[in-house]
Amino acid sequence: MSHPSQSSYNKSQLTRSRTRDAWLFLLPTLVVLSLVAGWPLLRTIWFSFTDASLSSLEATQFVGIDNFMYLLDDATWRQSFKNTLFFAVISVSLETVLGLLIALVLNAHFKGRGWLRTAVLIPWAIPTIVSAKMWGWILHDVYGVLNEILLFFHIIKEPLAWAASPDLAMASVILVDVWKTTPFMALLLLAGLQLLPQECFEAARVDGIHPLRVFWRVTLPLLKPSITVAVIFRTLDALRVFDLIYVLTSGSLETISMSVYARQQLFDFQNVGIGSAAATLLFFIISLATIGFIMAGGLKQDGR
């Protein structure tokens, strides 16, 4: 300690060895990630600039941005883009509002709260394929239980083709997504609610402030960071929606999403070039959305 230069030398020595250890621990993850995520991503981006087809991946030619021009020109892709945005905005909005309501209820003190918290999570715990299939049967135009119930109460006169009818398909998809993901939203917001300082709410109670006013002026502003994170999570998730739409309304133009479109090009039409371009475009749209959210939400690293 008597020689400052000596001690700073030792310190940097220590820092360096710690940095080296950290990289050593990260190395396996980095290797695996670059193999399973990095390599396919780069390959997809490369394919998006070629005319590769599924039958002849070897004999491909560089075609520049032709594939992207094709996409922007393709009515189906434009439809998938619109569908995806519509789906993301509507379903995430509904999920946020419903999730917040459920979170507020679950945050209150009542008997059986633990049970209810678990029960609410069930839809989220079911794999999407399973719930999509399940809802496919519920919404079935001939055998579906939903039509049965609505007919019984005379709400509708004749059975509706929920998943197949062009007017109802998107609504059905959103309904199922809301059913499935609202619990997740509620859980994220509940975690946020439980971190809020209780004294603020007690102070408001003693001061006799109306509960609705407390919600708008205290709960909501304080919960904003949690809501922002939850909305970002869900939006990014919704933008790449695939399985639900693929299973519930396979092939319908009314509900086709960007992911479904990419898969269709890749496998049904065997256009690896165009499919890759669609996937790459989706990747950039999602990246852009993330950056936009972070900038708009003012989400700093400390989570404020």
Binding site: P197, E202, A203, I209, R217
Partner: protein, 371 residues
């Protein structure tokens, strides 16, 4: 301006009873302090007054009105929380005004009240700041300001100074004392710090394990603690307790055997239900500041050698090991030159001595004269 009365108040959380049958009268326009160790129920008692907790049994009156089942807002109380409970996203002005908005007040009236409160608390230059830009003391002043503007019948303070550092705490204590003189309202203050209790209170309620141990003015509690718990809780450093044995009893006095064949004769009276007999073992209580050094061994109550010295500059505390394996703490002047290992003879005036029952800890002291 209001009197707060507890009548047989009981509070249980599930099966645990934390407040046992409390009967209390907190006088109008007085500063009452609830004091006790952690977990004694003092904060719960305050929260019962605020209405933040439901009363399990008994009833509570504020200003003559039974408020047992009234919601907090209808009780006319304002509360200052230990953690300040400021709304982090609002400015100081908004924080203070928030409780007034959407009430019957006009915008001008709200403005007038906020400015008046910030005047009292010297917050004028901070009104546009957010809580995170304030120091702990400033935040606590904002929290107090929020209570003042509501012009409550009863002020409730829940350990308002315990999150502040020592020097700031002394400063804020003075501010609260000043506030007490300016507002002249019923104030109820919870603390575990007996210094705060002694300096601020008109009346102290000492609580232990959910029950009242003693109620009285700071000086009554200091000079006439009714039991060993109160005696050891009030006063710092705490009272010495020395084992003793009854040698003889007369009408109003008891003579005690002390270690090293010393003895002392004290005036006593017997609280209800207590009997005192020859050879009973009792505890003699005497505060460190009431113990003094005597030159001759034969004049002292205790003799022993110094085992530890704590020098605070203005005063010195010496731990003296007396017989029967006991230690007595004595306060000496700052100029004292006592060293560890020195032999000291100590004494105390009988009027400064207290006598306690060994089992229940009750005091055998005469009840204090009415003031």
């Amino acid at each position: 301006m209001a009197q707060v009365i507890f009548k047989n108040v009981v509070k249980s959380f599930d099966k645990t009873t934390v407040i046992h049958d409390i009967n209390l009268e907190l006088p109008n326009n007085q500063f009452t302090v609830f004091v006790g160790p952690s977990g004694c129920g003092k904060s719960t008692l305050l929260r019962l007054i605020a209405g933040l907790e439901d009363i399990t049994g008994g009833s509570l009156f504020i200003d003559g009105v039974d408020v047992t089942t009234l919601p907090p807002a209808k009780r006319g109380v304002a509360m200052v929380f230990q953690s300040y409970a400021l709304y982090p996203h609002m400015t100081v002005y908004e924080n203070i005004a928030f409780g007034l908005r959407c009430t019957k007040y006009t915008r001008d009236e709200i403005d007038r009240r906020v400015l008046q409160a910030s005047e009292i608390l010297q917050l004028n230059h901070l009104l546009e700041r957010q809580p995170k830009q304030l120091s702990g003391g400033q935040r606590q002043r904002v929290a107090i300001g929020r209570a003042i503007v509501r012009d409550p019948k009863v002020f409730l303070f829940d350990e308002p100074l315990s999150n502040l550092d020592a020097s700031l705490r002394v400063k804020m204590r003075m501010q609260i004392a000043k506030l007490k003189n300016d507002l002249k309202t019923t104030m109820i203050y919870v603390t575990h710090d007996q210094t705060e209790a002694m300096t601020l209170a008109d009346q102290i309620v000492v609580l232990n394990e959910g029950a009242v141990e003693q109620v009285g003015s700071p000086m009554t509690l200091y000079h006439h603690p009714c039991n060993k718990f109160v005696a050891s809780f009030i006063g710092s450093p705490k009272m010495n307790f020395v084992e003793a044995r009854i040698r003889s009893l007369s009408q109003n006095t008891a003579t005690l055997d002390l270690p090293h064949e010393k003895s002392i004769t004290l005036p006593v009276s017997l609280p209800q239900g207590l009997i005192l007999q020859k050879d009973d073992s009792v505890e003699l209580g005497v505060r460190p500041e009431h113990v003094f050094v005597v030159p001759e061994d034969k004049d002292g109550l205790f003799t022993g050698s110094v085992t530890l010295i704590e020098n605070l500059g203005s005063e010195i505390y010496a731990y003296v090991k007396i017989g029967w394996g006991q230690t007595v703490l004595v306060r000496l002047g700052g100029e004292s030159r006592v060293k560890v290992g020195d032999r000291l003879a100590l004494s105390a005036a009988p009027k400064d001595c207290h006598l306690f029952d060994t089992k229940g800890g009750l005091s055998f002291e005469r009840p204090p004269a009415e003031q």
